[in-house]
Amino acid sequence: MNQAIAAALADEMHGDPDVIMFGEDIAAAEGPFKTSAGLLKSFGPLRVRDTPISEMGFLGAAVGAAATGLRPVIEIMFIEFIGVALDQLVTEAAKFHYLSRGTITVPLTVRGSVGAGLGFGCQHSQTLETWMYGNPGLKLAVASGPASAYGLLRSAIRDNNPVVMLEPRVLYARRAQMETGEDAVIPLGKAAVAREGADVTLVALGAMVPNALAAAEGAPWSAEVIDLQTLVPYDKEALLESVAKTKRLVTVEENPLTGGWGSEITSFVAGEMFGELEAPPIRVTCPDIHVPFGKELEQRYLPNPGYIAEQVGALLETGRRPPHWWEAYR
């Protein structure tokens, strides 16, 4: 997936001289995850830059550059680091269009690596969509593999709004044959049906998409798996259409349970389709704890395919919310 990202960046930079890129160690070193391989060489140091360690400073600079005509793409190496810079994204960038009566646009893309699974510990393993998804003026997309990373990133760069593009770190090493070019661009705001099915709709984002698909494979029930792709704005039509067919909704999310985006999706569907559902909409998530270090613990922390399948199976069987695995540990 890191190669797909570098390809998307290169393709947009070729197509539009206003696209520039900066972040920590993204130029000479080509990014800690090699997501900008070749870019400095191809586009030179005016357009591809290393920054000091100062997320507030360079995110702010990106806001200023975007407001005055460029299309900056910046990298927040681990999404936690936006905790020192959120102001620039949410309180400034997301409000500039409004606060300029529409005369200014902020075509800014903020890429951030997210998620657990590589043993980076609790300050480098979260997804944190929840810091950003309740803020009007921002868009937010999440890659679930090489093709979606490529397609969504190109749309994010072209979009005239600040777009946060989250990239699950465990997927960087994923390789796949894929198309590039115009046809591979994925519009923001549209979900993808990753797998069709009849009995239950699984809605996932990012690294949980492959897990949801794995859970669905070979299960005794038939699951439709929706890759939400864009969380803000999310594709309400696609959700309602799928659940109208399956009558059951399960969100699969890499976040602590409380306050995660799954609550929005389930709340929305529960509100719209009251009386039409055959089971409660449920959320399969991580427990309300910090991301642990240690290979096994981290894998236990994450919703793995086995656990997802168990939860879905139990839901279908009982028509009630199955207990979370961690209830035993409380």
């Binding site: 400073g57 005055t68 900056p72 500039f96 269009h97 009566r101």
Partner: protein, 326 residues
């Protein structure tokens, strides 16, 4: 008068600078009164006493340069050439307001005069100005950017990060600290261990200068030199304007925390009075002409208020516009 004519006049005519300062003073006095009379909702931050900074900056800047400033932005907006009825309209929540009346006093913006959305978060405009300068650098133009911020803002992280980034990338930006000696209710010496903010330029290997912020000519000269340096590719400059705000921090603040006599001492160095005397002494104005200018400025603000007050309120539908760009 278009804003371009206004800016050209500022550049070429010292009486025009005098008039611009009088206009700001009249505007701010009236804005403050509107709040005290309860005619306007919310809060406001006025800049009486700091007019020379606004006007001197606008003299030096090109219309194609970008400017970021703060919630204390009326003066800068007017100096750059925004119509006073548009600023007043915003304060009053009118559709003719600079942001259509949905922003309020802290939120002005006018792309044509180079003013980016003003910042209600302390320090936030500093890296954003660096980013505007980056656009010039990438595109190879010789436009520059200016960030205006307060003494209090010099203690926040965005100041440090913004100046450092601008220095290492040699961005064409001028950082103007308006040191009015207070951040809200706190005198600078309670929050800042150095007397001159300008010394902080040392941390970024950047030139730093203290400037008399009550002298519009000194301001325009210093900003002009720093902009020339920026346009020549020599990087950023930090300028500290020593100045003072006559009013309290915001609508709610009578400024009671100020030591006795301080306000009066500063008023002896009033930027408008200083300039009036100078222009008369140097034969550029007669007292009568000065009086005419003052009257004209005052009248323009009265008219601007009438225009704004008589115009349409922002509507509920306006709240929903411009959340996302197409």
């Amino acid at each position: 008068m278009t804003f371009l004519e206004h800016r050209r006049k500022l550049q070429t005519s010292r009486p025009a600078r005098y008039e611009a300062m009088c206009e700001i003073r009249a505007f701010e006095d009236r804005a403050q009164a509107l709040f005290f009379e309860g005619l306007v909702h919310g809060t406001t931050h006025t800049s009486q006493g700091q007019e020379a900074v606004s006007v001197g900056m606008a003299v030096a800047a090109r219309p194609t340069d970008w400017v970021t400033c703060t919630y204390r932005g009326h003066g800068h907006a007017l100096a750059l050439g925004m119509d006073p009825s548009v600023v007043m309209g915003e304060i009053m929540g009118k559709r003719i307001g600079s942001v259509g009346g949905v922003g309020g006093s802290m939120h002005l913006c006018e792309v044509s005069v180079g003013l980016l959305p003003t910042f209600a978060i302390v320090g936030a405009g500093i890296p954003v100005a660096a980013g505007a300068a980056l656009t010039s650098q990438v595109r190879g133009t010789d436009d520059a950017a200016i960030a205006l911020f307060g003494d209090g803002a010099a203690n926040i992280g965005a100041f440090h990060e913004g100046l450092n980034l601008a220095a290492i990338w040699k961005l064409p930006v001028v950082f103007i600290c308006e040191n009015n000696h207070y951040g809200e209710y706190s005198r600078i010496d309670l929050t800042t261990p150095v007397e001159d903010i300008a010394v902080r330029a040392v941390s970024y290997d950047m030139p730093g200068h203290v400037v008399d912020g009550q002298d519009v000519d000194a301001v325009s000269e210093a900003v002009g030199a720093a902009l020339a340096r920026a346009r020549a590719g020599e990087g950023p400059t930090l300028l500290e304007m020593k100045t003072y705000r006559y009013a309290g921090h915001s609508r709610a603040d009578p400024g009671a925390y100020r030591p006795e006599g301080e306000l009066e001492r500063w008023k002896e160095r009033d930027p408008i009075a200083i300039y009036r005397t100078r222009l008369i002494e140097e034969g550029e104005l007669t007292p009568e002409e000065a009086g005419d200018i003052e009257d004209r400025a005052a009248r323009r603000i009265v008219e601007a208020e009438e225009t704004a007050a008589g115009s349409e309120d922002a509507t509920v539908a306006d709240m929903f516009r411009y959340i996302y760009a197409p």
